[in-house]
């Protein structure tokens, strides 16, 4: 269907789309409703990877024992999304496709080296999360392509997720961080760290990860992180706040207790 009409806008839980429609900021008029595609709602293990259908809602993620066991930080992220009403409707595919730098599942997926599965009439292609976003609200998804699922390879190490929102619930992230702290290698630790709301897209921070792996002091790693991200002042927070909180959260994650 999308092949015939690549101008159709896919529509899932509508928690982003209808806000835009209600505000009159969405000019699209033709839609492709995915909501009924139940087969895209499955959460399962496929060849060792955790495979999550694009239409899995935040509630589905929270309730899934697979997710809670394999990727607890994703369940944590889902629990921090909106309120129950949003969790019941919002989907992971919508979160990824919407491409907001504040999308709460995105740092989790980035840190976990997830793969976005895209489908078009012609077939399926898999895009590593790292290469999915190309700029502010820009992705490599072609018109006519759908996100059908997300695949997450096995994750080893301690997981961490922390969202700092505008309030305790029903909040947009001022900064959100997810990380996986792997086993020690020589003097350092392998780590995969991703942040939201500190750049035009969700970002991994390879220099910070390298500094951690090299066994640098936590202060040095924090300095690297503060240089590596490029947050801005906006309606919700300030660049300075985001930088300092990012550094603090990283330290809490690396040095701190088992929270996460």
């Amino acid at each position: 269907m999308l092949r015939d009409e690549p101008t159709l806008t896919p529509l899932a839980g509508c928690t982003d789309l209808y806000v835009a429609l209600n505000f009159g900021t969405l000019k699209d008029t033709r839609f492709l409703d995915l909501w009924r595609l139940d087969r895209l709602r499955k959460i399962e293990l496929r060849g060792g990877a955790l495979s999550i259908g694009a239409l899995a809602t935040f509630t589905d993620l929270i309730r899934s024992t697979l997710v809670r066991k394999r990727l607890p930080m994703l369940a944590a992220a889902a629990r921090d999304v909106g309120g129950v009403q949003i969790q019941n409707r919002g989907t992971i595919g919508g979160n990824v496709a919407n491409a907001s730098p504040a999308g709460d599942t995105l740092p989790v997926l980035a840190a976990a080296d997830a793969v976005v599965v895209l489908q078009q009439a012609g077939g399926i292609r898999r895009v590593p999360f790292d290469g999915f976003y190309t700029g502010y609200r820009q992705t490599v998804r072609r018109p006519g392509e759908l996100i059908v699922g997300i695949e997450i390879p096995p994750v080893r190490g301690r997981q961490f997720f922390r969202k700092v929102g505008t309030r305790a619930a029903q909040a947009i992230s001022k900064i959100v961080m997810a990380g996986i702290l792997g086993p020690a290698t020589g003097s350092g630790r392998t780590a995969r760290i991703a942040l939201g709301s500190v750049a035009p897209t969700v970002v991994r921070v390879p220099r910070t990860e390298a500094a951690l792996a090299s066994g640098a002091s936590i202060e040095a790693v924090q300095r690297t992180l503060m240089e590596e991200i490029a947050p801005i002042d906006d309606l919700r927070s300030t660049a300075e706040y985001r930088r300092r909180v990012a550094a603090n959260l990283l330290a809490r994650f690396v040095c701190g207790a088992s929270r996460g």
């Binding site: 529509l11 839980g13 509508c14 928690t15 209808y18 806000v19 429609l21 209600n22 505000f23 839609f31 409703d33 909501w35 509630t59 909106g82 309120g83 129950v84 009403q85 949003i86 019941n88 409707r89 305790a168 619930a169 029903q170």
Partner: protein, 141 residues
């Protein structure tokens, strides 16, 4: 579209993208469901679809097709929560109340205080400071 609204079958001819909130209020005459923001934030428009609370301002009519939809009118005025909201001050101005009660219905019987706080985090109330709402829900029987 066809759906079951408050226990009764309904058939309507509406645009599939029309907000379910407007369908309920304008086409079905059920004005108990309120609009406080139209952006999914306030929860005043909360209804149940298949027993799950959703913001009807963000639901296209098409997504209710074939589904079981419950609004405040579907509680028949006899639900213990309704009585309790009156007795314990859970409703002041009342504009958040239908949405609040629908979200509370979804919490099932005897929720803990923590379950209530989390379950109602998507329903804003500007009048009560929420305490009286917790009391209403906990004392409903």
């Amino acid at each position: 579209m066809r759906f079951t609204l408050n226990g009764k079958r309904a058939r309507l001819d509406v645009h599939p993208m029309k907000r379910l909130l407007d369908v309920l209020r304008e086409d079905c005459g059920f004005t108990g469901t309120k609009e406080g923001c139209g952006e999914g934030e306030c929860g005043a428009c909360t209804i149940l679809i298949e027993g799950m609370p959703v913001n009807s301002c963000l639901v296209p009519a098409a997504h209710a097709d074939g589904a079981r939809v419950t609004t405040i009118e579907g509680l028949d005025g006899r639900h213990p929560l309704q009585r309790a909201f009156v007795d314990h001050g859970g409703a002041q101005c009342g504009i958040c109340t239908p949405g609040m009660i629908m979200a509370a219905v979804a919490l099932g019987r005897k929720p803990t205080l923590e379950q209530i706080r989390v379950g109602l985090a998507g329903n804003l109330c500007r009048c009560t400071g929420y305490s009286a709402i917790y009391r209403s829900i906990r004392r409903a029987r």
